[in-house]
């Protein structure tokens, strides 16, 4: 694990309510100096609120924020010394590019000559040296994004806050800008909190990623950890693709270290009569308990429908995404699968229920597999790829 040895920016038990709605509860995060942490979540997950609390635009109902050991919770935004890049940049359209960058320096009463030097250095950093005198309306969206970054970095802030900084760019431009952004931030070496709803952006820019789900921290870890070892049902399905299969516990999770379950506690799960798969358990479970298995498409291999340890099904569709092709497999009914699922309970008509009852799983098709819609195939966990993760169905969510 990459727990930082000492934290520079610390969010301690942050909580915020707007009226009746709790948008953030007990958020604890610690960033090492120079670390980029991405806050990832859907809209309404509380990520933007968390960022605005750190920036000082909102006051927390609980908890506090500390930088380098100093409690800044009571400081106004102007006194925190944090730089921020806003979602729509919030550039001052009545000032030129250079005036925008100089604004924070004037506010902090930098002497004139140092100001000019700093503005030039910042323009260089974001590769806009020739654009200082341009009007904001006269530069492109990507350039505006860079001006916003330069403006935020100019007063040498202690912490950089990025609020969906790339969401306004074209998809093609976004990927390149993502790398430039990370390079620029790393060159400065500033501790950075990034808010985004895009998993790719969080993975690409962040050293670590904190996934927020409805106001709580679902999981914190490196991108690899989140993908390969999700400890949370929401994280497993939100980060990357995952299929869901129902099963029952065959052998209870055994913790090699004894006592509490760790990340590597393994359990055997019966997914169909006579078919038992191994999976990581993130919580204790007893034998016979119904559980849900989340499986990455690339963790499944295409095998014979009658192969031992395989689930049989029919290919209903192929999805070609460029680098990978996925087969959508409709699994045949099996004990422990489909019975009493959430879909069946929610389904209205008989027809709807029948459709809901069927379990569809995506499997990555290798270059040597010849699969077409209508084929009857088997799927089984492969030797490579992330191990499926078990989540209890009874868990109160």
């Amino acid at each position: 694990m990459s727990q930082p040895s000492e934290s520079f920016l610390a969010l301690r038990g942050l909580g915020k309510r707007f009226g009746e709605v709790t948008v953030l509860r007990d958020l604890n995060l610690a960033l090492a100096e120079g670390e980029i942490l991405a806050l990832l979540g859907l809209s309404g997950s509380g990520k933007t609120t968390a960022l605005r609390l750190v920036a000082g635009f909102e006051t927390p109902d609980a908890g506090g924020i500390a930088v380098g050991g100093e409690d800044v919770t009571a400081l106004s935004p102007a006194r925190r010394g944090f730089g921020m890049v806003f979602q729509h940049y919030a550039l001052f359209h009545h000032m030129s590019v250079a005036e925008n960058i100089a604004f924070g320096l004037e506010a902090r009463r930098w002497p004139r000559d140092k100001r000019a030097q700093r503005v030039a250095a910042m323009l260089d950093l974001v590769d806009l040296a020739a654009y200082g005198n341009r009007r904001i309306d006269a530069i492109s969206g990507g350039q505006q994004q860079r001006v916003a970054l330069a403006r935020a970095l100019a007063p040498e802030p202690r912490v950089l806050l990025l609020d969906e900084p790339l969401s306004n760019l074209d998809p093609a431009l976004r990927e390149r800008t993502r790398r430039e952004l990370r390079a620029a931030v790393k060159a400065v070496g500033i501790t950075t909190l990034l808010v985004t709803h895009e998993q790719e952006e969080a993975f690409d820019v962040g050293d670590r990623v904190a996934v927020l789900d409805r106001g709580r921290l679902a999981q914190l870890g490196t991108p690899q950890e989140l993908y390969r070892r999700p400890t949370d049902r929401f994280v497993a399905s939100f980060v990357g693709r995952a299929g869901s299969i129902r099963g029952t516990v065959a052998t209870a999770p055994v913790d090699p270290a004894g006592g509490k379950t760790s990340d590597d506690t393994m359990a055997q799960i019966t997914v169909a009569a006579g078919v038992t798969w191994q999976a990581r358990a993130v919580a204790p479970a007893s034998v016979g308990e119904p559980v849900e298995l989340l499986i990455r498409p690339e963790a499944l291999d295409v095998v014979d429908a009658s192969a031992p340890g395989a689930l049989a099904g029919t290919v209903t569709a192929m999805r070609f995404t460029g680098p990978l092709t996925y087969a959508v497999v409709e699994l045949e009914m099996a004990p422990g699968v489909g019975s009493g699922t959430a879909g069946a309970m929610a389904g209205g008509t008989t027809e709807g229920r029948a459709r809901e009852d069927r379990t569809h799983v995506e499997v990555a098709v290798g270059p040597t597999d010849h699969v077409e819609p209508g084929d009857r195939i088997g799927i089984a966990p492969g030797a490579v790829g992330p191990v499926p993760t078990v989540f209890g169905l009874r868990e109160a969510r």
Binding site: F57, A78, F92
Partner: protein, 552 residues
């Protein structure tokens, strides 16, 4: 004939009509001003340039207009900030109430002020009673009185413009400034105020033009303090038409110079409000003491602003001759209203005002729509010319237009487009129409511009004729914009005083003229009752048509 040439001919016809109504009278006024014994000469100009009293009147007009802008801004802008940025009990209703003076005819405001602050008004009476004074502590007249009335009625422009701009402002720009270490003061001056410049300039222009053309306040309160509008009317009334023409030309020139100067300034300005973003939420005031202070201040303000109109209502209930030296009127009844309703000569002005305002509004809507459609169909230079012509009366003080129309339509020369209409019931509705044409015309142009052309094309492709698609598709979609313009036009024409005083006849006298003559004959109760009727009619028009969209 091809469709293209047909549309060009249509545009030409509309342009001719507009030129005849708007441009031609002004041109004739200019020519007549320069005419000496049947020939154009610059002699009158020389004489004018050497006349000290003319320069003094122009100077006073300029001073009144400039001071009105400053004072209106000093009241309206802080008020807008209070209502847009803080939250206190009663904020919503007060925020709407303080915009009220914009919907009321200037003359009504003026006589309400007279009854409240004039020498025998409520406030002086109260002060005399309280401090045992022999006579009123002040006289409501001269520059001070004019500016007081102007501030009262024109701060609304600054208030509405600033509030709209604050509502559009991106709250993130303020947060960005704060995160860059900028304190509240610096953020205000460097970030907030520059984003308000376009709105402030727009409000300043509107206030300046309104104050420059203002007639009611200088006429009633000015006394010896002659501004150009009152000077023009005085010249006209004394029969010195040449002088009135020349003075009109001078005032129009001043107005146009101001307009061009401000437009140039506006052109060089970037609209700093970004397309994105949400305005900052009004800050809830938490401290109970401060909350109470704001509420008390807000309500006091609203009462002060509404007091003139409440006074007017009270005076309208006072029977003639019953209120002499008492602090409060001893008798109140509806006698004045009964008189208005039952005596034919009292009823006539109201009937006159309503039908003339209605005809003028209808005509202005039709002409505005026609212009907007032609301008859109032709585009290019012809389209620009049409739009400029339709907006021109806005830039020309009402008095000037009245004098110009009087000069144009007081002889019968049908081949020169001049008819003997002065003294007939035609001239006042026509003059009102020209006055309100910018309101309907600009609304029609804006409404048509917002409309997706594909909608009309879709109607055509479905087999609808041009006429049918216009009445079934275009007009219904433009209704909200047009309705607001109709309401505002009707109110403007209904309460008009500036144009009426130059062009009315006894038979066609409108409410405003009758208010003036009842004031002169000391029938204050009847004058107030007329004022209240004007207020009620305006309010009704506002409610029926202008709901929420009375953009100035």
């Amino acid at each position: 004939m091809t469709p293209a040439s047909r549309s060009r001919i249509g545009a030409l016809a509309v342009a001719l009509l507009l030129t005849w109504l708007v441009g031609y009278p002004l041109l004739l006024t200019l020519l007549q001003a320069l005419e000496v014994e049947g020939r154009i000469s610059f002699e009158p100009l020389h004489a004018f340039a050497g006349a000290a009293d003319e320069w003094a009147a122009l100077g006073r007009s300029l001073l009144v207009a400039t001071a009105s802008v400053v004072l209106a801004a000093l009241v309206g802008v802080p008020l807008a900030f209070v209502f847009a940025r803080t939250d206190f009990p009663g904020r919503r209703i007060l925020g709407a109430l303080v915009a009220l003076p914009v919907a009321l005819p200037p003359l009504v405001g003026v006589i309400a002020f007279l009854f409240l602050y004039g020498e025998s008004g409520f406030v002086p009476r109260l002060l005399m009673d309280l401090f045992d004074l022999e006579k009123s502590p002040w006289r409501l007249h001269g520059l001070g009185a004019i500016l007081l009335v102007h501030t009262y009625s024109m701060y609304v422009y600054f208030y509405l413009f600033t509030r709209a701009a604050l509502a559009r402002m991106d709250g993130a720009s303020l947060e960005a400034a704060a995160s860059l270490g900028s304190g509240a003061w610096r953020t205000f001056w460097r970030v907030t105020v520059p984003q308000l410049y376009p709105a402030l300039l727009g409000a300043a222009l509107l206030t300046f033009m309104t104050a420059l053309g203002s007639f009611s306040a200088p006429y009633i309160f000015g006394g010896g303090y002659r501004v150009m509008t009152t000077q023009i009317v005085a010249s006209k009334v004394s029969g010195d038409l040449a002088r009135a023409n020349l003075e009109s030309v001078a005032l129009a020139a001043l107005a146009l110079i101001a307009l061009i100067a401000v437009r140039t300034l506006q052109g060089s300005m970037v609209d700093a409000t970004s397309a994105h973003g949400v305005a900052p939420r009004p800050r809830r005031i938490r401290r109970p003491g401060v909350r109470l202070a704001f509420a008390v201040l807000g309500w006091t303000l609203a009462i002060v602003l509404l007091l003139p109109h409440l006074t007017l209502m009270l005076i309208s209930l006072v029977p003639s001759g019953t209120w002499t030296t008492e602090l409060l009127p001893p008798v109140l009844d509806f006698g004045n209203y009964r008189e208005l309703a039952t005596e034919p000569e009292r009823l006539r002005p109201m009937v006159n005002s309503v039908w003339m305002a209605a005809v003028a509004t209808l005509g202005a809507v039709a002409l505005g729509l026609l212009t907007a459609r032609r301008a859109r169909a032709t585009r290019g230079r012809m389209g620009d010319a049409l739009e400029a012509l339709v907006a021109l009366p806005w830039a020309i003080p009402g008095t000037v237009f009245a004098v110009a129309l009087a000069a144009t339509f007081s002889v019968s020369q049908p081949w020169f487009g001049r008819f003997l209409w002065v003294g007939t019931p035609i001239i006042l509705p026509l003059a009102y129409l020209v006055r309100v044409l910018p309101i309907t015309g600009r609304a029609a142009i804006a409404g048509l511009r917002q409309l997706d052309p594909a909608l009309e094309e879709a109607a055509w492709s479905l087999g609808a004729s041009r006429t049918r698609s216009f009445f079934r598709i275009v007009l219904p979609l433009m209704r909200p914009v047009l309705a607001a313009a109709v309401g505002l036009s009707f109110i403007t024409a209904l309460g008009d005083f500036v144009v009426s005083i130059v062009l009315y006849t006894y038979e066609t006298r409108p409410i405003s003229i009758e208010i003036l003559s009842t004031l002169r004959s000391q029938s204050f109760g009847v004058a107030a009752a007329y004022g209240v009727m004007l207020m009620l009619l305006s309010a009704a028009a506002f409610l029926v048509w202008g709901r929420g969209e009375a953009a100035p």
